[in-house]
């Protein structure tokens, strides 16, 4: 069973958001990382780009399959995990910590209040 930390919120498409000192850290869940398998490429937005709630902000390629990454928050990208560009291993090994993707300064209408809490996301995983 995949780990679902209680200190963050989720999209049903398996991205997570964690609010830390006014910034929203974004990543994909352990479940998603396991489903994708070995990762070979990632495309992320640049610092300063705008991301929109539930809209694709990047793409990740596991072997033969390219998957869109949806933003769990609307706002401006303030930091990108550059280490992932060379190696995506951290996403598989540590999806909730070292494998974070981007950090976002949330807009006023950020969409964060629409995210799933950990219990609802866990229930979604249990039902799939």
């Amino acid at each position: 069973m995949s780990n679902v930390p209680t200190d963050r919120q989720y999209l049903s498409s398996h991205e997570w958001a964690q609010q830390v000192e006014g910034v929203v850290v974004v990543g994909i869940s352990e479940h998603a990382a396991e489903e994708l398998g070995e990762l070979v490429f990632i495309e992320l937005p640049a610092k300063g780009d705008e991301v929109v709630f539930e809209t694709q902000f990047g793409e990740i390629e596991s072997v033969k399959a390219v998957s869109g990454l949806n933003s769990p928050v609307t706002g401006k990208v303030v930091e990108v995990n550059q280490e992932l560009i060379d190696s995506q291993a951290a996403i598989s090994d540590s999806p909730f910590e070292d494998g974070w993707l981007i950090k976002v300064e949330p807009a006023i209408d950020s969409g964060l209040d629409l995210l799933l809490d950990h219990k609802t996301y866990q229930a979604q995983l249990d039902g799939s």
Binding site: G37, V40, E61, V63, K64, A65, V66, S128
Partner: protein, 230 residues
């Protein structure tokens, strides 16, 4: 193949057959262009972007796929695309290995008695450094038995976006005895195997009303309005 990218965003199910006027190489979504051009392991001649006004001599035109994986040489193959909802009754699980496994079985079933799926719903091994899709083995391969074991006769690649999946497949006509005259019938059978209801169909060049959206999509996705027009 840019149309396949657009179909990822359209509601409904699409089964598409691509015919090629000339040999064309399709590259995976993130496959390195320089590597594909110059890598000595490449099975292909040098390539140039399809749509270039004056392509260099002795080169092959190339297009970019929305799906992952390695390069495929098209022309003599049966090129298919399927776009639809995922998860859905057709593909209940969004897991790449599950979708790949199911479609591999169905493609092999199109050539029952001749082909099988290599089989196994297991993780694919990395092919990041292998240029040609047909130079590697994968659980989702469609294979035929030769005197020295299984021969890869078909490969697939996937893209997931929002609640949709795109599957692009290349099947070797020579190994599967896939005659062009049977293509539409095979497309219809594939729809039946997938459990899709009969819908509308069209044959021929792309209608003009698609050309504008396609050009915009290609420029947005690949930064060049000519790129990907195969």
């Amino acid at each position: 193949m840019a149309l396949d990218d657009l179909l990822l965003d359209q509601p409904g199910w699409f089964l598409r057959l691509t015919r090629w006027r000339q040999p064309v190489v399709s590259l995976g979504r993130f496959q390195s262009w320089p590597e594909s051009c110059t890598d000595e392991r490449s099975a292909f001649p040098p390539i140039h972007p399809a749509g270039e006004v004056e392509p260099p001599p002795d080169t092959l035109a190339a297009v970019r796929r929305a799906t992952g994986g390695g390069a495929i040489l098209h022309g003599e193959d049966l090129t298919l695309a399927i776009a639809g909802d995922c998860p859905s009754p057709v593909f209940p699980h969004r897991r790449p290995t599950a979708v790949a496994h199911r479609i591999s079985l169905l493609l092999a079933r199109l050539f029952e008695g001749r082909a099988t799926s290599r089989g196994g719903e297991v993780q694919e091994a990395s092919m990041q450094h292998i240029t040609d899709c047909f130079l590697r083995k994968s659980p989702s391969d469609v294979v035929v038995e030769g005197t020295e074991g299984s021969i890869k006769a078909g490969g697939i690649a996937l893209a997931f976006r929002q609640g949709r999946v795109l599957i692009e497949a290349s099947l070797r006509r020579d190994l599967l005895d896939a005659q062009p005259d049977n293509d539409l019938q095979q497309l219809h059978r594939l729809g039946l195997f997938l459990g899709l209801k009969a819908g509308s169909s069209s044959v021929g060049d792309l209608p003009l009303q698609w050309q504008g959206p396609l050009a915009r999509r290609v420029e947005q996705r690949f930064g060049d309005p000519h790129w990907n027009h195969g």
